[in-house]
């Protein structure tokens, strides 16, 4: 020890003092590291809560195929009549449209299977399963441009609100080319039972509407398996508010007609003028 202490001309006491100082410096550096604020990670991307449809639909292959450039996803901004624009979300959504009256928005709980023509699909109907907890099925009512605004329930930041301009085109999807040969049979309506929501102003009921509501034919609808519910325009019942939203800006009284089983909206129409018109309407949707 004495020999080592003499090396370099330093005494043992000085070396011991230097070791203690170094130890103190090291511990203070550790303490400083604990006080450092985290640096924002601009690289990692969070999974978005709301998924809008986009094209093309990207499917990850089982085995990677070398490609020079993957296609860039583009959000869809056009809906043709008859097409479904499906939004998935992990959080509950409040949907608005501005201006109103161009879109029907149906909210549903997932997972669920939907059969139809999709904005991001082909020209033939297909069956898809959506696994998210909250699903919005948007369809066009009339041609025009509107903005779909999706507000997550309990939102605290403006950035969480999703806005998408949508154009409802005037023409429906073109049917696939008819193959040569005998004409295929016209498909019959497949809806078995209807769910009819009537939105009315009970303080402006007309004689025609009263006659319809008091008719045997109207009373017979539940017996035939259809659901019928009348809501005043001032209703606060959740199902009534949904029906009002589904109806859009249509003159009252109006009927929002859904498939009772799938809950998909089939039609939004003014209240039929009389029982004959009601009969025609029901038969056109149920095939008899």
């Amino acid at each position: 020890m004495h020999i080592l202490a003499q090396l370099g001309g330093y005494s043992f006491d000085r070396i011991a003092l230097a070791i203690v100082v170094l130890a103190l410096l090291a511990s203070s550096l550790v303490a400083c590291a604990d006080d450092l604020k985290p640096i924002p990670d601009h690289i990692a991307v969070k999974e978005p809560a709301i998924h809008l449809p986009f094209t093309p639909v990207l499917i990850e292959p089982d085995t990677p195929i070398p490609r020079p450039e993957p296609p860039t996803p583009t959000t869809i901004s056009t809906i043709e009549k008859g097409q479904l624009y499906v939004v998935e979300s992990s959080v509950g959504l409040i949907s608005l449209q501005s201006p109103e009256g161009f879109l029907n928005v149906v909210t549903a709980k997932g997972p669920m299977s939907v059969y139809g023509l999709f904005v991001d699909g082909g020209k033939r109907p297909e069956l898809r399963t959506y696994k998210s907890e909250n699903i919005l099925i948007v369809t066009g009512i009339k041609p025009g441009k509107t903005e779909l605004i999706l507000i997550p329930v309990g939102v605290t930041e403006q950035d969480a609100i999703v806005r998408q301009v949508l154009t409802v085109s005037g023409e429906g999807p073109q049917p696939p080319p008819v193959p040569p040969g005998p004409t295929p049979p016209v498909p019959q309506p497949t809806v078995k039972h209807l769910s009819i929501a009537v939105i009315e102003d009970v303080l402006r009921i007309t004689p025609d509407a009263a006659i319809l509501f008091a008719s045997r034919q109207w009373a017979a609808l539940p017996d035939a398996g259809h659901d019928v519910m009348r809501y005043d325009k001032t209703t606060s019942e959740p199902s009534g508010l949904q029906a009002i939203q589904d109806a859009g800006s249509v003159t009252l009284p109006v009927m929002v007609i859904r498939d009772k089983d799938s809950r998909l909206i089939l039609k939004t129409v003014p209240l039929p003028k009389d029982v004959a018109a009601l009969d025609v309407l029901v038969k056109s949707l149920t095939g008899g």
């Binding site: 009263a210 006659i211 009373a219 019928v228 519910m229 009348r230 809501y231 209703t235």
Partner: protein, 268 residues
């Protein structure tokens, strides 16, 4: 105090207490008037609506099971409220055929005595407390301390009933032709229990001592009549009902307020 309430013996020998009290002098309903909210129809529109060949008579839609029985209590106003609300639910499309308690409302508007009540108090009570299922508050549970917590909880599901005070005969006819149920007052005496061959009840003169509701307007034997559902069980009149002419209301209409009830609200 018991002599304040008229009593009548029905066809089965049961004493029926007539508990619809006159509003105090100068009483003005706090409810909006029907005529200012809903345009009155003219006679041609009313006739077209009530003579339509497809019209389903309400006494057919609301058969025997919808006739209530207040038994020996003075609870007619409570039973009127229950009758109107349960039918308005059905007419909206709620097909659970739920029957509501008449005594639940009466328990909260009779001031702790079985001495009748005022109709407007009953209608206001619906908006505050609702009305429970009939089996949760039976005909003899007419005081608040007899009402169970379960009944109170259930009542809150059925507390929405839009009501409008009717001011005119044309408004009364319009409300019925439009399909609304209407709460009315009649004067029930011996004639009230006698029906003619067309099922029309006789008229007793008086200010009005009994609350009932009408749910239809129709033409019977060439006369415009109002289909009244009583709350004295099926033994009264024609399976619990009778047609009334305007003569039955000619005195009571000025003393009591009639109410049209076009819609309901439900809580999940």
């Amino acid at each position: 105090m018991a002599d304040e309430i008229d009593e009548i013996v029905d066809v089965n020998g049961l004493v029926r207490r007539l508990g619809s009290l006159l509003p105090p002098k100068g009483f003005v309903s706090s409810m909006r008037t029907f005529e200012t909210e809903h345009p009155s129809w003219d006679d041609a529109d009313i006739k077209r609506a009530i003579t339509d060949p497809n019209r389903m008579p309400r006494r057919q839609l609301f058969g025997d099971r919808w006739i209530l029985d207040q038994k020996s209590k003075s609870s007619c106003n409570g039973f009127l409220v229950a009758g109107i609300l349960q039918k308005a639910r059905k007419l909206r499309g709620i097909n659970d055929d739920l029957l509501l308690s008449g005594t639940y409302t009466y328990a909260f508007i009779n001031g702790g005595r079985d001495q009748g009540s005022m109709l407007e108090d009953g209608l206001k009570s619906v908006g505050v407390r609702g009305v429970c299922r009939a089996d949760l508050c039976t005909w003899d549970q007419i005081f608040p301390n007899q009402v169970s917590a379960a009944a109170k909880e259930d009542a809150l599901k059925h507390k929405g009933l839009a009501c409008y005070a009717i001011q005119t005969k044309q408004g009364f006819r319009t409300a019925l032709a439009a399909g609304f149920t209407v709460g009315v007052a009649v004067h029930a005496g011996s004639n009230f229990q006698r029906l003619n061959a067309n099922g029309i009840a006789g008229v007793d003169r008086g200010q009005g001592n009994h609350a009932v509701h009408c749910d239809d307007i129709c033409i019977v034997g060439g006369t415009e009549v109002y289909d009244m559902a009583n709350s004295w069980n099926l033994q009264y009149g024609t399976r619990g009902r009778a047609y009334l002419t305007w003569d039955s209301f000619s005195q009571t209409f000025g003393n009591h307020t009639f109410y049209a009830c076009p819609s309901t609200e439900e809580k999940p």
